[in-house]
């Protein structure tokens, strides 16, 4: 190969070239990072956790809403999209990150138009969150940052294990509309981190919770996930059901719904918030 021959002849020049390349490398790598647009509230938060801000061309419209997003402040500086193929063509990002449940029509149209589209499965555990962080990191050239984000997640988890009460307390998550979470959900794992034991752990993933079940299981802690309480909805009226108020002796904790909405590093804040609320004052 010609290059091998030349190397011996031009060693000093090469050394200088390598050196300058080495010095330039971080900047070059940054300049070469693919631009990214995300069209899903949850992938927005993954992108914000690993991307270089300069890479981000657009995030989805919900992510700047403080009711929906854990990172609304951070997200609000970017152009927002409503996830239509036409908007994404105009945005022209190198990589589009979508949720696996984003409109199948939009996904297939974008693929047809030659976009690089990366689909992220919803997370049902912290392991899933780490997997998704790595997938986003790999897609946008930020493997190292994805690794750092997972490491900091583990550190936060470790800190919570130190902090939580030795005694586990029974608990239930009550969402608007009387929905609840069972095993195989991220929320279940998060309340576990806070030292709580889900009384409906026999439920697979999601389900509805009747007031009767709630009365019968007598949880020590009721976690209410409030969501847009000032806006009328049938779902929110569940919280004012007299049956719910009649459960005596249960500690009621409130965690805004956005904490459980997505699987992202900031999901850990749900467990931290629970620990904080349960801490003796």
């Amino acid at each position: 190969m010609p290059s091998y021959r030349r190397r011996s002849q031009l060693a000093p020049a090469h050394a200088a070239a390598y050196l300058s390349l080495f010095l330039l490398l971080p900047r070059l790598a940054c300049a070469e990072l693919p631009s990214v647009a995300s069209i899903n509230l949850c992938t927005d938060q993954l992108v914000l956790s690993v991307a270089d801000p300069a890479q981000i061309r657009s995030l989805s419209w919900l992510s700047a809403d403080p009711e929906e997003s854990m990172l609304a402040n951070q997200a609000s500086v970017y152009p927002l999209n409503y996830g239509s193929a036409e908007e994404l063509m105009a945005i022209g990002a190198d990589v589009v990150i979508a949720g696996s449940q984003t409109s199948p029509f939009t996904r297939s149209l974008l693929r047809r138009l030659g976009s690089t589209i990366v689909e992220i499965e919803p997370a049902a555990s912290l392991d899933d969150v780490e997997r998704n962080l790595r997938a986003v990191g790999a897609a946008i050239g930020r493997d190292r940052e994805a690794g750092a984000a997972t490491a900091s997640m583990r550190a936060r988890v470790g800190a919570m294990r130190e902090r939580r009460d030795a005694r586990t307390r029974s608990a239930v998550v009550v969402r608007a509309g009387g929905f609840t979470v069972g095993r195989n959900t991220l929320a279940n794992e998060l309340i576990g981190l806070a030292g709580l034991d889900n009384v409906v752990a026999n439920l697979d993933r999601w389900g509805s919770l009747s007031i009767e079940t709630l009365l019968a299981t007598k949880p020590e802690v009721i976690i209410m996930t409030s969501y847009r309480e000032s806006e009328a909805s049938l779902a929110n009226s569940f919280f004012s059901h007299p049956g719910l108020a009649s459960i005596a002796g249960a500690t009621r904790l409130e965690v805004p719904a956005r904490y459980f909405a997505c699987g992202a590093p900031e999901s850990l804040a749900a467990a931290e918030l629970l620990l904080e609320q349960m801490a003796p004052r």
């Binding site: 927002l80 239509s84 063509m89 105009a90 029509f105 939009t106 993933r205």
Partner: protein
Amino acid sequence: MNESTEPGRPAAVAILLAIGLALALPLSLFVGRGSGGPTFGLGAEDLAATILAEIRLPRALLGALVGGTLGLCGAALQGLMRNPLAEPGILGVSSGAAFGAVIVFYFGFADSDSMLLAAGAVAGALAALAILYALAGRAVDLVRLILAGVGINALAAALTSLALSFAPSPYAALEILFWMFGSLADRSMAHVWLMLPLAVPGWALVVAAARGLDALILGEDTATSLGFSVRQTLWLVIAGSALAVGAAVAVTGVVAFVGLVVPHLLRPWVGFRPSRLLLPSFLGGALITLAADVAIRLMPPGPELKLGVVTALIGAPFFLHLVLGSRGRLNA
């Protein structure tokens, strides 16, 4: 409703509607939603060709094809049943199709643009019609047919909801909105090619029933004595509607009321004979649906409205108006 003895001018009306359609299609290509709100023109030069050919064109074509299908089948079903309230939606054809598509799609058998999805929708529409036949079949009792359709509609909607609740994806339950209030957002040419091979034979079957439908106006016995088979006419319309509406629903979900409103709007102009109503209803359905879809894109910034919401907002009051007008006759 159909008492008019005016012969009407179907050819002139068809030409006018075709001109309207020729104007609406470019308008639909011109209006986009490139930044969350309405945008006009094709945007950046380097993207214009792609946006036109791959995003706006399929959307406009599908608006016309789906709307045309619904207008045509609405006119044929109203003729068949001699009932002003008939519509693909009311027979349960649309919701049966949606259920078929939901089963194929959510249980992992097919992508959104696969022929299998459309086949599922057509199968769902046919299943709805098979039940319809079992309930109201042999006697060709038309009032019974409509009542059976109402029941099938409710059943298909409940089954769709049930299937979506059991679908592996937790998000499926939320997507019932799409299937119940269809949309044309982000459809591609793949969906055009998916729809045409099923819709075109469907239209052909419906059109083949035109003269039989004309004869049916005189009553079943007279039609039979004139040499028209009532049964054949029934099945041409039903099979044709199942194919065409199934293909449309697979691509857009249920877009209600177009098939109800359009023939009614046109009857004063073209007369009441189904054979003269079919083509204008196709063109009128295409025009109304395209216009509704352009209106959606003109809405202020925010997530797009569903097409079926807009057509229902226009169509449902019209439906109620018809119910009021026909109360005496339905009681009789």
